[in-house]
């Protein structure tokens, strides 16, 4: 089966180490890829390369087997694009903007337009300049989804949406995925990615540092543990337990980090009286920050916060 997105050594060098470098990425049809990275990491550059808006410095990119630049027009028939912010359309009404872009695109399902608008409570009768930021983003969503694309490229699509509309958007994405579409979701909001993604790619300083299934990403998560003892702390047993790191002892309390299973730690505690045991699973955000700050290895600063009690 042809990959929905396939890049090899894709690079866009803006100089001064800015841009995108050696991106090897493959997104299968029907997959939802969350493309995570902080501002300036290269997410939008990736999208602009996939959309054929900018030329790569090196490497290649293909969508459904079509070259992203040479066959850009053909690709756009199958792609829906939701930018983070719509450009100015001045005095045009929402309905006119939809009609104009539908005219350029062709094959737009007006019933689907109406359904999406109703779902997001968007009035297309208003002028663009009268729209709030959230309504402009809803319009961007309508424009991206209105032709039932095989591939959705979403660039931080929920900016300006309230939580209810964010939820409606996630539902729409899930339904689109269930209908067989591929979704490429660029975001710096991890919970957004967790909502709908099957896979996650983490980009930092223009380089893809990790791609994994969402479940795999959870597996490499660490846990922060705080244990309170009635008596003395079995410090040496804890320090030598497999998978236990960053041990800090204060009075009768121990704080540490545990990777993998709890079994070695539990064995180390079996001869001691434990009065409280709290384990905190870091959010995807903390995992993401680990990749962003370092080279994938945990750092003390990442683990310094106290775990919360359950």
């Amino acid at each position: 089966m042809t990959a929905a997105i396939h890049t090899r050594g894709l690079s866009k060098d803006y100089g001064r180490s800015r841009g995108l470098f050696d991106l090897d990425l493959e997104v299968d049809e029907g997959e939802v890829l969350g493309y995570l990275g902080p501002n300036g990491a290269g997410k939008t550059t990736t999208i602009r390369l996939l959309m054929g808006l900018i030329h790569p410095t090196a490497g290649s990119a293909a969508v459904f087997g079509l070259d992203c630049f040479r066959q850009a027009v053909e690709i756009k028939r199958h792609v829906g694009y939701v930018p983070g912010e719509l450009p100015q359309f001045g005095g045009l009404r929402g309905s006119e903007i939809v009609a104009y872009l539908a005219g350029l695109r062709g094959g737009v399902d007006e019933k689907l337009v109406a359904q999406i608008c109703e779902r997001f409570s968007l009035d297309l009768g208003q002028r663009f300049r009268e729209y709030s930021r959230g309504n402009k983003q809803k319009l961007a969503i309508v424009l991206g989804f209105m032709h039932r694309p095989r591939l959705l490229i979403l660039d931080e699509p929920t900016g300006g949406l309230d939580p209810l509309n964010q939820q409606a958007f996630y539902d729409l994405c899930r339904e689109t995925r269930d209908a067989g579409a591929t979704v490429f979701l660029s975001s710096h909001i991890l919970s957004e990615v967790e909502h709908i993604s099957d896979h996650v790619g983490i980009i930092r300083d223009g380089r893809l540092v990790k791609t994994a299934k969402l479940a795999e990403l959870h597996e490499i998560r660490f846990r922060q543990v705080e244990i309170q003892f009635a008596g003395p702390v079995p410090e040496s047993a804890i320090r030598t337990a497999a998978g236990v790191d960053q041990v800090q002892v204060r009075d009768h309390t121990v704080r540490c980090v545990v990777r993998g299973t709890f079994e070695p730690l539990m064995k180390a505690l079996c001869d001691s009286e434990v009065v409280n045991f709290a384990s905190h699973e870091p959010s995807l955000e903390e995992v993401f920050l680990t990749f962003y700050r370092g080279d994938g290895q945990l750092t003390a600063s990442d683990l310094g916060s106290a775990p919360r009690s359950p």
């Binding site: 900018i54 450009p87 006119e96 007006e110 337009v113």
Partner: protein, 541 residues
């Protein structure tokens, strides 16, 4: 905030200074080249210029003492600079008052604790500072140009005085546009409304130069009238301190008025809010078929602009044609010119005069129209709209070709309205312009305007951020070539570098086929090159 305001003015400063330097130097060189070096030759030159200068009284003050270089510079340079600096002041004020709001800068500043008074005053003072620098550099360049080209010195005092008058006028136009902009909701609307107001008061003063009845009106409404009162460089001329001071005071009063208007309106809204026509809520795309037809969608979107341009130019054309008999009377004293008009008008000097003056003006207006369209193309790229269009199955070549086709339609609309008005105006003055020759003259305006647009398309495809500035410079230089080339006796090939010279005078002289072929080649070649360049560049950069 001052630093940011300064940055926003920087491009304008560089552009205006460049224009001023070029224009001043060229005019100084033109004088020394054409007027000769003897007293007799300069006197003869002065007489010729004073006769010819009456033709330009719509744009320039009536010339006095142009046999001296100081008088010539006063008329030809400091008479034209108000147009240039006035246009800059207008665009800058529209940008400062509504452009900042469109971009959300005003909200940011107000949220950061900057008061509306501080915002307006800072924007105005920043513009004033850039205007002072631009005018000072322009005057210095003119001074040096005169020394270098003519080997003589302009008196320093009058140069400073006329520069002060120019500064006062520039600031007044800026402040006036800021007031007008409070009644608009967008930068484009502010520039259009401001352009209309400034254009009207400019032409009221221009027309008052030949129609005494308009003087009392010009005295009340036109700052250009008060600028004209100071002609310190002309022999026997003087610097009108009261008029200049009055302009400075007027600018301050207008800034005060802007402040008041801004405090009584909502950010993002106009002072007077017209309740927009109630539009029923809908979740359906517009049924308007025009929006779905490629070229017509672009035309439809700019329908109001086309109507505004057509009506504005049409009104002007009607007026000029309707007073062609009176205008010809102005030239009665110059029998040579009347004979010349009769000859080129095939026995009808009125038609010749209409063609000579109106089409001369309309060419300039049409080139500005083309620049405004190129500015939209650049904005489409810079603001992300091109990106949205290219996210649909539309090729870059199609984008360029659609732009060209839509512009042809828009331009044809403006030209059609204007030519109809010209015909009606001429008829009202009992002057018959042959419909055939008017049609030919009108049709030839399309390749003329499209030539500028094609050059702009190349620029917008390659370097959209610089396109407008470069095209405006080319247009200005092109216009100067047409004006100065004959004076400086430049070779024919050099004159042909100006698109203005390619149009010819089809109303009375028939089609200039060479010019037409060159304009067609520029148009086709330009858009083909634009399509090619568009393929090879990154959108949005």
């Amino acid at each position: 905030m001052f630093a940011l305001s300064w940055r926003l003015q920087r491009a304008g400063l560089i552009g205006m200074t460049g224009f001023g330097l070029f224009y001043g130097l060229v005019q100084a060189a033109a004088y020394s080249s054409v007027a000769g070096s003897t007293t007799a030759s300069r006197l003869a030159f002065g007489q010729q210029m004073e006769t010819a200068g009456r033709q330009f009284s719509l744009f320039l003050p009536l010339p006095h003492g142009v046999e001296t270089i100081a008088g010539y510079i006063q008329w030809r340079v400091y008479g034209a600079l108000p147009l240039l600096f006035g246009f800059w002041a207008l665009m800058s004020a529209a940008g400062a008052s509504r452009g900042d709001e469109e971009r959300g800068l005003v909200e940011e500043w107000l949220a950061a604790g900057v008061g509306r008074i501080r915002y307006i005053v800072t924007r105005f003072l920043t513009f004033a500072l850039t205007a002072i620098i631009a005018i000072a550099l322009t005057s210095a360049a003119i001074h040096l140009g005169v020394i270098g080209a003519a080997g003589s010195f302009l008196p320093l005092g009058p140069v400073v005085e006329v520069s002060l008058a120019l500064l006062a006028l520039t600031l007044t136009v800026h402040a006036l546009t800021m007031v007008v902009a409070q009644f608009a909701v967008s930068r484009t609307a502010a520039a259009s409304l401001g352009g209309l107001v400034v254009g009207v008061i400019f032409f009221i003063n221009s027309l008052s130069r030949s129609a005494d009845g308009l003087v009392p009106i010009a005295r009340i409404v036109s700052p250009f009238y008060y600028y004209d009162l100071s002609q310190p460089l002309s022999p026997g001329g003087r610097f009108d301190v009261a008029a200049t001071l009055g302009l400075f005071i007027a600018s301050i009063v207008l800034v005060g008025l802007t402040l008041w208007l801004m405090t009584i309106r909502d950010v993002g809204s106009a002072v007077i809010q017209f309740r927009s026509r109630q539009h029923p809520a809908t979740v359906r795309p517009s049924p308007n078929a025009l929006l779905r037809i490629p070229v017509l969608a672009l035309v439809y979107e700019q329908r109001l602009g086309i109507i505004a341009w057509g009506v504005g130019c049409g009104f002007f054309a009607f007026y000029l044609a309707s007073i062609s008999r009176q205008m010809l009377g102005l030239f009665q004293g110059s029998s040579g010119f009347r004979v010349y008009l009769t000859l080129i008008g095939h026995g009808n000097p009125y038609v010749a005069l209409t063609g000579y003056i109106w089409f001369g003006i309309f060419l300039a207006l049409l080139s500005v129209f083309a620049i405004t369209q190129v500015a939209r193309w650049s904005a489409d790229d810079n603001e992300g709209r091109l990106e949205m269009v290219l996210s649909t199955p539309v090729s870059r070549t199609r984008v360029v070709l659609e732009r060209a086709a839509a512009l042809v339609v828009r331009m044809a609309g403006v030209i059609a309205i204007t030519s109809l008005a010209l015909e009606l105006g001429a008829a009202s003055a009992n002057v018959t312009i042959g419909p055939g020759s008017l049609t030919v003259a009108s049709l030839l305006l399309i390749p003329f305007g499209m030539s500028f647009a094609a050059i702009g398309a190349v620029l917008a495809s390659q370097a959209p951020r610089a396109a407008v500035a470069v095209l405006a410079t080319y247009t200005f230089v092109s216009y100067l070539l047409t004006e100065l080339g004959p004076l400086l006796k430049w070779p024919d090939w050099a004159l042909k570098l100006s698109v203005f010279s390619l149009y010819g005078n089809p109303l009375t002289g028939g089609v200039d086929w060479t010019g037409l072929w060159i304009m067609s080649a520029i148009t086709i070649g330009g858009f083909v090159a634009a399509a090619f360049l568009m393929q090879h560049r990154d959108v949005g950069s």
